[in-house]
Symmetry: C5
Subunit: 355 residues, 5 copies
């Protein structure tokens, strides 16, 4: 669908900026507030009934990961925004799931918008979900559109008291979340890669017009993917720059590592684009080639038999005075002429390498 | 029309720079001077008979939004320019509606030129109107070519005494105006997106040459749109830079938000361009494909029947000495030969997967 | 002609740099030295017999515009160069009319090379003339290849004692000259735009191979134009930079205005290039389309009549034992078969939407 | 295989960063630890049984080259990493053979990842092997996936006590290794160049669809090669910059020399890409050309004989009242008409230059 | 030949950097050492038997131009390198004639590599020769692969005691040499331009497949040329920068002049590339066009005569009961029907504007 590419929906047009409206599909029924609170020694994991219960964690010395699933509860966000002093535009961006990936650095927190991408094998389309992060001094707040199992490995790793996660601050937690999401893109890339290979084999074996439509769809998915991953580069290099004290020097090389991965993702997307346009070239040239073959068959048959038919036609005329018709050798002679013509034609085509 | 792309009309060529001539269609009969004057407590909205009545607002402590609709009254602008100390080239630019979007920062005011874009469903063309802003310390002057309802929501929002507009200065008002205009582009993008989808469906279902012309027109509209939105990027990042004290630090993040939107608009325009050229590919390959099919039908029919006709022609000859003609099984034998030829041809084509 | 693109002619190769040779066509018979000398109060306009008569103006307090038409008098330039201390390479560049537009800033003067472009409707080619400017403290020297009326409006404006030209220095005069030349490009663009439109209509209405040649010529003109206008951008932004005290702060915003115009010219040239390649697409697809139509006609006719002819051919055979020939209903039956075949073919083609 | 382009394999997704897992084929059975320890006077070369035996070299005054072949022994790397204080992410990168070429500068060492590329004539594919370097103050550690003879010339050169290698430090050794690897690319380029030439000759002599597939494969190899060599540019210029004291000023010009070579490699890859797309153009135009020739033969034959057959058909009609049939000159007259038609057709085609 | 594009030959691979081996064809038998020694008053020109004779000039006060023709005498270069303290990599680069044009600035001298390009009309190929310059305080050493007359004009100009060459230093001499070489490119460009024009005329007049091959060859020459001239830009701007005291402020504007020329060369090469791809477009569209014409002829003839033949075939059937055959007006009636069909077909084609 084309409209996927128009990120800001017209229905928000004309509203006051900072107006908090959830733009996007409502993907879960219930908003879930999950908290994981930890330091090197203890870890505590719970689901909170109201957002207010989360507030005391803000000023604790432990690291707090607040994960909010479901974005339609505008009230909840307002309260949260007030407590954590989040800029109204940031709150608006969290609710509007048509954001471009970006990072914004404020004095007390960093705001990151990311896209979780996966391939929906049913619709043959890339599915996307927006994940926003608020990274503060000792807390990370994540906003998801729906329940997902992508972040689960992090929850598992947190349980390990000797893991690096437990020994480091909120910035390292934030890095881990970003890393897991970017890593997830490679799964998507593999699926797209397989699709491209299948398509290529189809085009080589039995090219038909439906392949072109599939190619166009794939091209569109790649355009979509490209738009989603290009900003990542800038995003992560934005985080690595020394503009904020919220990212420790310990975490910096890890961010550089994620940066390398995003470069690889971008490289691969570009390669896929090249491949897809290469498949179109194969298709078009194979069409031309087929046409050539079809025309050769027609031309060989027509060129041989049309003149022969003409000769037969001549002796089918009913003139009273056609001396050849009375010759006893007339009929075999005509056969001789026709066979000679046939053979010389075949030699001609053979020489032209038409078959 | 090609001439839409040539912005500076030749009839101005050779005139002295700063010569104030209205270049563009005259779109309204009457110049209207509307003033909204407000501070946090009071708001006053009126239509002024003469421009001189607007002058006292310049030095008041309140925020003044002076909206001038209709650009053909050169005298009025001259008086305004004198009072507000506006550079003659700025006045010329306001009158000449063929400007590229741009920002120019002067000591006492900022000059912004924007394009209001909408899709004229009748002419199937993008319509454009120029909006210029003069943003001063405590005033915003807007110049429109004609009455429009795009800025109305702002007038409504101004009435709300608790709204952010009322609490902030002229720079925030200017931001709001720019934001509303950029937001409006998304409506245009949706309409263009729908057009592209319709066109694509047409090309897939029944491709014909008229689609190519439509594609070219669409491509041209996209070129036009691109030229109108690309400068926006630079424009808004120009505003955000610290070159002026007229933009407060409060307004800065809001400008960054508009900047994100313009990036989205530009992204979408580029995506549309890719799509349109993809549709051309579909069209061209479907032409080739159709040709292939047509040629196959011709070749199959001709290849089968031309040799058969030849055989029939042979036995239509009138030679006196054709022994076969007298054989009692001659006729059925010929039929046998012909049917054998037919069947082997069909098998041949079947193997070549021609049908 | 291709050679138009090779700017430095081979006949200068191997000469010492700074060797003053006039490279280019000799376009006027007589070198004319015209002087306009003015300040806010007086203006004096005269044609000088020798270049030496111009020298006293150099050190006067008034602004002097020295216009030299015709470049073949190398001696004259040498004397001028000596008096005004102009670098030998600058003199060489003035004489060599194959320069790229450029600006060079020296301590005492600024050297600007520009191209005057116009469309020669006869040759259907862009004509170019080189105009060089030496801008000093209180003088502007212009060098033209031939008499032209492009700069006349400036002479008129100079007569107005209240005009900005009279009130400002040599830098403003130089700006005015550049502005008038750049403005002139819009006339050229309009003519090219009309040509593109005509060509497009032709291609849509009756495409033939001659259009392709015209398209190529047009494309070449656009390449030529592009090469002439691209350097302008850098040129004018080079002038605006603070490298020299010869450009006053008063003139700076005016240069920014010319800069905007050159951006518009470049934008339009790029748009034209897009359009021209779009027309080629239309042409190629309409060729394919026509071929398709031609082939359909052939295929329909051949597919219908070749099998029918075969049937007729069968009953034209002269076998003695063909029982059908003796049946009284044989002839009408064959007609029936043939009509049935015809009708079913037509239905088949109808279903395939071939007509 | 498409999957070659997706560098980070999905099976690592979700793991903790810095997790040391060997990603890539296991190419050797046994991990080999080879040490060459030298100064200007002595050189010592040995194979160590355990990694611990290598540790004393770290703090010796001699230069030590530690070469580790085989990457699957994770334990060994962990120990090495601990001793040499290597960042866990660096260790992870060494094990993961899907890295992009890159350089990372740490306080005590420089980490370089390179690709050894060679052309596998059997698979007709570019083979790649990852080589990582850790360059310290007085040691270089290299990690290879398998035994290779590319670095052997360096071992030979080291034996020469008067060679530059012996007189310089670890940075010069590292430079030599990089230089040898980059030089090796030229062998690959030559092989690819030959392949392109062969393919071009094939396409010119007997173009067929299999060439298109080969072209696509070649294009893909070039895309792969491009991705492998582009980062080199940045890598080596990164090394040359003054960010580290590990690279002496003596070695700097040598790095500039390698830089020149990488530019040449990149240039050549780009040229090859241009060539390959040029071959596709040749192929497509030769298809069109062949089609034209085939059609001409068909058209000439059909245009000549179809009208002639018609004439013969007319006089094959059995009407009782056809006066021509009874004329004594009827038959020769018809032959005359037919020959005239034939000759005029031939003249027509001759004039159209169809043969 | 493709291998021309692979600059560093594989036979050098694996050698120690700075190893002096002459890579390239040996183009002269004898190495010639020519010296021109001059100051403002005296000039001395001689051919030296051994390189040692040139050494005293190094420390003289005069300017010395040492020209060495032939690069295969490695010993000679080694001695020279020692005396003039030239970096071993520079000596290697001088001997290896596969260098990219470049400049390297050392403390005591500047090293410049240039390509002398000319068009070999016999092989229809661009020939290249490497010229290296060592520019010192008071000497210039040039290395040529073979005798050439390109630098002769400089020798002539040196004889003029009043010329700028004699009055200026070694930097001006170096500039002059570079200028002469760059100027020489314009001759090459003119020849290529003529070739392009001839090719274009051929393609328009009688397009055939051999033109495509010629186009590809030309395209390749342009790629080669492009690679040779692009680095010039950087090279000369590198010289102009203030990194060295070896270039006097007097020579700087002259270098800027050469810079302008290289820009012109690059511009022209890009234009030529555009033109060549334009010619391919003409060729392809003219192929399609021809095909269309051929098909039209076939279709017109077949569409007219196949139905007519069918009618004739019908009345050639031998049924006993065909009443029409006995009608006295049967034969003329059939003629009437056939003529009507013919005329209506012709009208149909006329309307479709097929002829």
């Amino acid at each position: 669908m084309v409209t996927r590419f128009i990120k800001r929906k017209s229905r928000k047009t004309g509203m006051s900026p900072g107006t908090m409206v959830h733009v996007g599909e409502r993907k879960v029924d219930q908003v879930t507030i999950a908290v994981i609170d930890y330091d090197t020694e203890n870890i505590d994991s719970m689901v909170l009934p109201t957002i207010e219960k989360a507030f005391p964690f803000k000023d604790s010395l432990t690291i707090t990961w607040l994960n909010i699933t479901g974005l339609h509860d505008v009230k909840l966000l307002e309260k949260l925004g007030k407590k954590y002093q989040i800029h109204p535009l940031v709150l608006e961006d969290i609710l509007n799931t048509d954001q471009r990936p970006k990072v914004e650095i404020f004095e007390n927190y960093i705001f990151v918008v990311l896209k979780m991408l996966s391939f929906d094998t049913q619709k043959q389309e890339i599915e996307h979900e927006q994940i926003s992060l608020i990274v503060g001094n000792n807390y990370v707040i994540t906003f998801q559109e729906r329940e997902g199992d992508v972040l689960n490995p992090i929850r598992e790793r947190l349980k390990n008291p000797l893991g690096r996660l437990r020994k480091n601050g909120a910035d390292y937690l934030a890095y881990t979340i970003i890393d897991v999401i970017v890593d997830h893109y490679f799964i998507l890339l593999e699926k797209l890669g397989e699709k491209i290979e299948t398509l290529e084999e189809n085009v080589i074996e039995k090219p038909n017009q439906s392949s072109v439509k599939e190619l166009q769809l794939l091209k569109r998915e790649l355009i979509f993917l490209r738009r989603s991953v290009w900003p990542l580069r800038e995003l992560i290099s934005g985080l690595s720059r020394d503009e904020t004290t919220l990212i420790s020097s310990y975490t910096s090389p890890y961010l550089r590592d994620v940066y390398d991965h995003t470069i690889q993702v971008i490289d691969t997307v570009e390669t896929f684009r090249d491949m897809v346009s290469g498949i179109l070239d194969i298709y078009l040239s194979s069409l031309s080639n087929k046409m050539n073959e079809v025309m050769k068959v027609l031309t060989i048959i027509a060129t041989i038999f049309i003149p022969l038919s003409f000769i037969a036609g001549v002796y089918g005329m009913n003139f009273e005075f056609m001396p050849e018709l009375k010759w006893p050798w007339g009929y075999p002679t005509v056969w001789g002429i026709m066979l000679t013509a046939l053979v010389s034609m075949l030699i001609y085509f053979k020489r032209k390498k038409w078959f």
